[in-house]
């Protein structure tokens, strides 16, 4: 506990600050300001801590979080600052999974609730919904004991004609043993999205089993003979991989394939792109042109567009040509997950519902072994493995929700909350790198699943504009990917920088009104029932005192106290106490809830006779 700590406004040039007390708990860093407002920061969210050179007012400490919050404290005594710095460094770097918050987090659920929670999302059910197994596709037991591929789930769907030797042979010819398996089946078009890793083709190597495998996939599609093979990497990268004995499919060796590069950059490019983006958006007193050129130089929006373009290519191949598509990148767990899941999202409106989106993440990201632990740096590990691949996926979805405001059951808050918990390590879902690792950690016994928590508060995540009949089942969503459609996602990257948000949120207003409408509908039913009941009673009364009814009923001029004009509850700032990421019950989004303009200007300051504008 350190007192008299100042919390500085990140973008203010005047040294306006809040003074308060800083507490370190086992799981959180807590700051309570003089007006008793609390700011909680989960240790797992801390991406970097930096101690700046001593100033006259104290020792500045800058904490960067994985959810893009940046806090700037000034600690009066250097000694304290140093202590906090060291503690945070230790606390934010965890060496073992068992030390993560999820293992100590206890939401007061009993065991059966915990088990039920984990059963909420059932992938077997999901494959059944898609229409497999069927005449062409079956469940394979090849990987039942993780013997063929450690990073795949136990249950995999493959073409019926793909025998076990073909599977095993193909897996030997694929990087990390990730052979082609079914990711999504489009039952109307009878076409499939399959995924795998790159072939170990080098300059000339072939593998008959692998060729058979691809043939089996294209034959499993009765409506189209050819299939697409999408290599999501830039051609140059794929060619460079050949020198390492890896590479891509040679069209001459595989019958009936159409090979296509789509040019999404690798995890390292994406990491540094985000880094550049954050540098720009974090600049104080940023000019419009520096912002735009910084946005351009970061390449971030270009990458988002590339991911979405690839997904559209995939979805069109299925919806328009009824062709099956095999997607891979290098290892088939980053770009492949992005493209397969977004492709399915465009094809199938189920994934645009709250439950469906959870299923999609469980399927294409969690079960197929996107390395959440490495990519989000859950444990202290190789910084080169960190990459915002999943963040890009969420951002692509957000872009779609902007273009199709009525197509999605969930709202932006849902995407932000998921992003929050991918990094929070509070729930077991995203821990570890693959299913095998999760089983070894016994996550289902020792931790809780995020999904039931999100479902229990789904009111917050519902899109009030959602129209379930927006598009008929299994019709393609066709987004426009002209560059001007892609925008900087302010609510993600400046989620905690309130001064940049609209002071009144149209979204919150519509949310609340829509919520209120439901309540009013209930009220009306209730009132109507009461009136019916009463008029029934009064009928009886009327029969009794028939002679009295001739008299005009007394008109009551004075309104009884029970009917007052109801004021619509305005979106107020009810989040006086906010705990970031500590539990899902916190309405984190309420931080964005509009406030009517504060009396104080957040904008202008007159200093030394020179007018300066700050953001």
């Amino acid at each position: 506990q350190v007192e008299q700590v100042k919390l500085l406004d990140r973008f203010s040039t005047s040294n306006k600050s809040l003074t308060g007390t800083l507490y370190l708990t086992a799981t959180h860093l807590l700051f309570i300001d003089s007006s008793q407002r609390e700011t909680w920061i989960l240790h797992h969210h801390i991406a970097a801590v930096e101690k700046l050179p001593l100033t006259t007012s104290g020792c500045p400490l800058v904490i960067q979080c994985k959810n893009f919050r940046i806090v700037h404290f000034v600690v009066p005594r250097e000694r304290d600052c140093h202590d906090i710095y060291n503690s945070l460094l230790q606390l934010s770097r965890t060496a073992k999974y068992e030390e993560l918050y999820a293992f100590s987090y206890n939401p007061k659920q009993n065991e059966s609730e915990q088990v039920k929670g984990w059963q909420l999302i059932d992938l077997a059910e999901e494959y059944k919904r898609m229409g497999v197994p069927n005449d062409y596709w079956q469940l394979s037991d090849a990987n039942r004991d993780y013997k063929v591929c450690e990073t795949y789930p136990r249950e995999l769907y493959v073409p019926r004609t793909a025998s076990k030797p073909i599977i095993v042979g193909s897996s030997k010819f694929r990087s990390k043993g990730r052979f082609p398996v079914l990711s999504y089946y489009h039952k109307n078009k009878e076409a499939a999205i399959c995924r795998c890793s790159q072939p170990l083709s080098g300059f000339s190597a072939r593998c008959l089993e692998d060729e058979h495998m691809l043939q089996a996939i294209s034959k499993a599609n009765p409506s189209n003979r050819y299939m697409y093979v999408m290599d999501t990497r830039p051609k140059l990268n794929a060619m460079a991989n050949r020198a390492a004995g890896k590479g891509y499919e040679n069209e001459d060796n595989y019958s009936n394939i159409r090979f296509q590069f789509v040019g999404i950059e690798n995890i390292h490019v994406m990491r540094s792109s985000l880094q550049k983006l954050l540098e720009v958006s974090g600049t104080r007193g940023l000019s419009v042109n520096d912002f735009l050129s910084g946005l351009e130089n970061s390449g971030w929006l270009r990458h988002i567009k590339a991911v979405l373009d690839a997904a559209i290519f995939l979805a069109k191949a299925i919806a328009v040509e009824s062709a099956s598509v095999l997607v891979h990148c290098s290892d088939g767990w980053d770009r492949t997950s992005q493209v397969c899941s977004l492709g399915a999202l465009l094809l199938d409106s189920y994934y645009r519902t709250i439950k469906g989106f959870m299923v999609l993440i469980e399927k294409d990201w969690i079960s197929f072994g996107h390395k959440f632990s490495d990519r989000c740096c859950q444990l202290d590990g190789d910084p080169k493995e960190i990459s915002p691949v999943f963040t890009q996926f969420l951002e692509s979805v957000w872009n779609l929700t902007e273009q199709f405001p009525q197509a999605f059951e969930y709202n932006e808050a849902f995407l932000l909350q998921i992003h929050e918990h991918v990094h929070s390590c509070q729930f077991g879902n995203f821990l570890g790198n693959c299913q095998k690792e999760r089983e070894d950690l016994k996550l289902k016994e020792k931790t809780y699943s995020l999904w039931p928590f999100l479902l229990s508060e789904q009111k917050k995540y519902q899109n009030p504009l959602y129209n379930p009949d927006f598009s008929p089942e299994l019709t393609l969503l066709e987004p426009n990917t002209v560059s001007f459609n892609f925008k900087f996602w302010r609510n993600m990257y400046h989620q905690f920088d309130r001064s940049m948000h609209p002071r009144q949120s149209m979204f919150n207003l519509i949310m609340n009104t829509s919520e209120q409408n439901k309540q009013l509908e209930e009220d009306i039913k209730e009132l109507e029932a009461k009136i019916k009941l009463r008029s029934g009673q009064s009928d009886v009364v009327l029969v009794k005192d028939q002679e009295q009814t001739a008299r005009p009923a007394p008109v009551s001029l004075k309104s009884p106290p029970c009917f007052q004009k109801e004021q619509p509850p305005m979106p107020g700032n009810d989040a006086v106490r906010t705990i970031e990421g500590s539990n899902t019950a916190d309405n984190r989004y309420s931080e964005l809830v509009s406030e009517f303009s504060k009396a104080e200007p957040a904008v202008v300051s007159l200093e030394y006779g020179v007018a300066r504008m700050t953001c």
């Binding site: 273009q403 009144q504 303009s597 200007p601 904008v603």
Partner: protein, 549 residues
């Protein structure tokens, strides 16, 4: 002149119309004196397009064999294409359109011919008189007076006949001050902040010249707006070097020695051809669908448009802050005081004054701070982003102002009585209209043209209940606060309603907007119903009680 002389081919059949994101339609094209009319031949679902010639910014023609193609680029940024069979017809039509869209006499413009099909409930020409404004002012302060010194437009040709000035300054002094300010635009009241009695004045630059000329009356006039012992701020919309250079041409700025109670702040707001170029570049960038991400972002940056937005908003916030926070009076001017000055004073009022955020109040603001204040609409809006003629006087000054309002609107979506459509409508009518409101460059010209007698006012049309409902913001909740917008680049956005309006399919966005409105409407219905039911129930209860008694 007869329009018929200019129309060699009044009608062409089998013309194909291409509009972005619409199927090509075949139909008949007709030219009239003021309109280009296209009607599809389909009987069932006849589509008609009426385009004012004055809305046409530029036309291009192309030929493939005998099939001619005319591409029409409009001032509202829309681009349409007409395929016209027959080379002669096509050439005739193109030259007619060219001639009719560039008529040089104002009195030939459509507003002089337009006969309204609606009943006029309220004559918009007399809806917003300065006298009414002054009446409101008199109810809170008696420090100001209405001066008719400019009755004959003799003191300042670009000012209205009546202006509001400090009570302590007489007309004789005003005449002297007018000689000291460019174009005779002496300081007048633009806005009075009731909350603390501070005033915002606007004027043109003082004519100090190189030898530092001064005018005691001018000093007395501006000082009359200060509380004793308090400072005022001069917001000069030019950077200091530009203001200094202006002295060589006889202009200048208020010097500290002569205006010791005033502190000068220089803000840089771009003008004229720089704005026009920025506008042209932005529209070019938005119209090219093939740009990859990097190119789009660098084009957007190179246009500098959003920079202008940020600068302008910043200056307006600054003026508002001086008044509301610093408790100081403010004088705003640039050079002529007809462009950037008006942008700043009108935006500051949007921020400070809740009344300006209502429909009527905003109309009054446009009339007072733009039309009566002498913004030369006819010159500035003669051409839009597609014009080839780069005249020095064309500039999207008013559009930039509207966009800034839109930016604030986005940040405070519940604080405005009007919606985005209202701003778009003003943008369109400023460039091409059947109404006379935006004709002429100042009240003097409008009086000479007898616009109030000969043309219909835009306000007469807009303020009819049938029209008004299209422009109402269903989210509006009157809010008496000062609204401070964020000017961070992350908070500013391209005004898609103007710049991407014709460049992307907007069906889904429009449907979503409709749904939003439905939710709000439904809410009001439900509330009314609940209240009615409660009342009914309550009455039943009292009835029973009465009976029991």
């Amino acid at each position: 002149m007869e329009f018929a002389e200019l129309i060699k081919t009044p009608r062409a059949d089998n013309v194909v119309l291409h509009c972005p994101f619409h199927m090509a339609v075949e139909g008949t094209l007709c030219l009239t004196g003021h309109h280009l009319i296209f009607s599809s031949r389909r009987q069932d679902n006849a589509e008609e397009l009426w385009l004012l010639h004055s809305n046409i910014d530029s036309i291009e023609k192309r030929f493939v064999g005998s099939l001619g193609t005319i591409i029409i680029k409009c001032k509202d940024l829309r681009i349409i294409q007409l395929d016209i069979p027959g080379m002669e017809e096509c050439l005739n039509i193109a030259s007619s359109i060219e001639a009719l869209s560039t008529l040089d006499s104002v009195t030939l413009m459509y507003p002089f011919f337009y006969r309204p099909m609606f009943e006029v409930l309220e004559d918009g020409w007399s809806s917003f008189l300065l006298e009414q404004e002054f009446e409101l002012l008199s109810s809170v302060t008696n420090e100001w007076r209405l001066s008719c010194v400019n009755k004959e437009f003799s003191v300042c040709p670009s000012y209205p006949p009546v202006v509001i000035v400090p009570k302590s300054v007489d007309d004789e002094a005003l005449r002297k001050v007018a000689l000291f300010r460019q174009g005779g635009r002496f300081p007048v009241l633009s806005y009075y902040h009731k909350k603390n009695g501070m005033a915002m004045l606007r004027s043109s630059q003082p004519l100090t010249g190189t030898n530092g000329r001064r005018c005691k009356e001018d000093e007395k006039l501006v000082n009359a707006t200060l509380r004793s012992g308090r400072r005022g701020f001069v917001i000069d919309t030019r950077p200091l070097p530009v203001a200094q250079q202006a002295r060589a041409k006889g202009g200048g700025f208020e010097q500290e020695v002569h205006y010791p109670q005033w502190r000068r702040i220089h803000k840089y707001i771009e003008r004229f051809n720089i704005l026009q170029e920025s506008f042209i570049k932005l529209v070019e960038a938005c119209n090219d669908q093939s740009h990859n991400m990097d190119r789009w972002l660098s084009k957007l940056e190179a246009s500098n448009w959003l920079t202008h937005i940020k600068e302008l908003l910043t200056a307006a916030c600054l003026a508002a802050q001086c008044i509301d926070r610093e408790g100081a009076s403010v004088l705003v001017h640039g050079s002529e005081g007809t462009d950037s000055t008006l942008q700043v004073t009108s935006l500051a009022q949007i921020i400070l004054d809740p009344r300006c955020r209502t429909i009527r109040g905003f109309e009054a603001l446009v009339v007072r701070e733009w039309l009566q204040a002498g913004h030369p609409f006819q010159q500035r809006c003669a051409q839009s982003a597609y014009s080839n003629s780069k005249q020095k006087w064309e500039a999207p000054v008013f559009l930039l102002f509207l966009e800034c309002v839109w930016q604030i609107h986005r940040q405070f979506p519940c604080s405005f009585e009007f919606n985005e459509q209202f701003l778009l409508m003003l943008f369109e009518h400023a460039y091409a209209s059947q109404f006379g409101t935006f004709l002429g460059n100042n009240e003097n010209e409008r009086a000479k043209l007898k616009l109030p007698q000969k043309t219909m006012s835009l306000w007469s049309w807009v303020n009819r209940p049938e029209e008004l409902c299209r422009f109402q913001n269903p989210l509006y909740e009157a809010n008496s606060l000062v609204i401070w917008p964020s000017v961070a680049p992350q908070s500013l956005q391209l005004w898609e309603g103007v710049f991407l309006r014709w460049n992307r399919p907007s069906k889904f966005l429009e449907e979503a907007e409709e749904e939003r409105i439905n939710i709000i409407k439904y809410n009001k219905e439900l509330q009314a119903k609940v209240n009615a039911l409660r009342r009914q129930l309550a009455e039943m209860e009292t009835d029973e009680e009465g009976r029991e008694e």
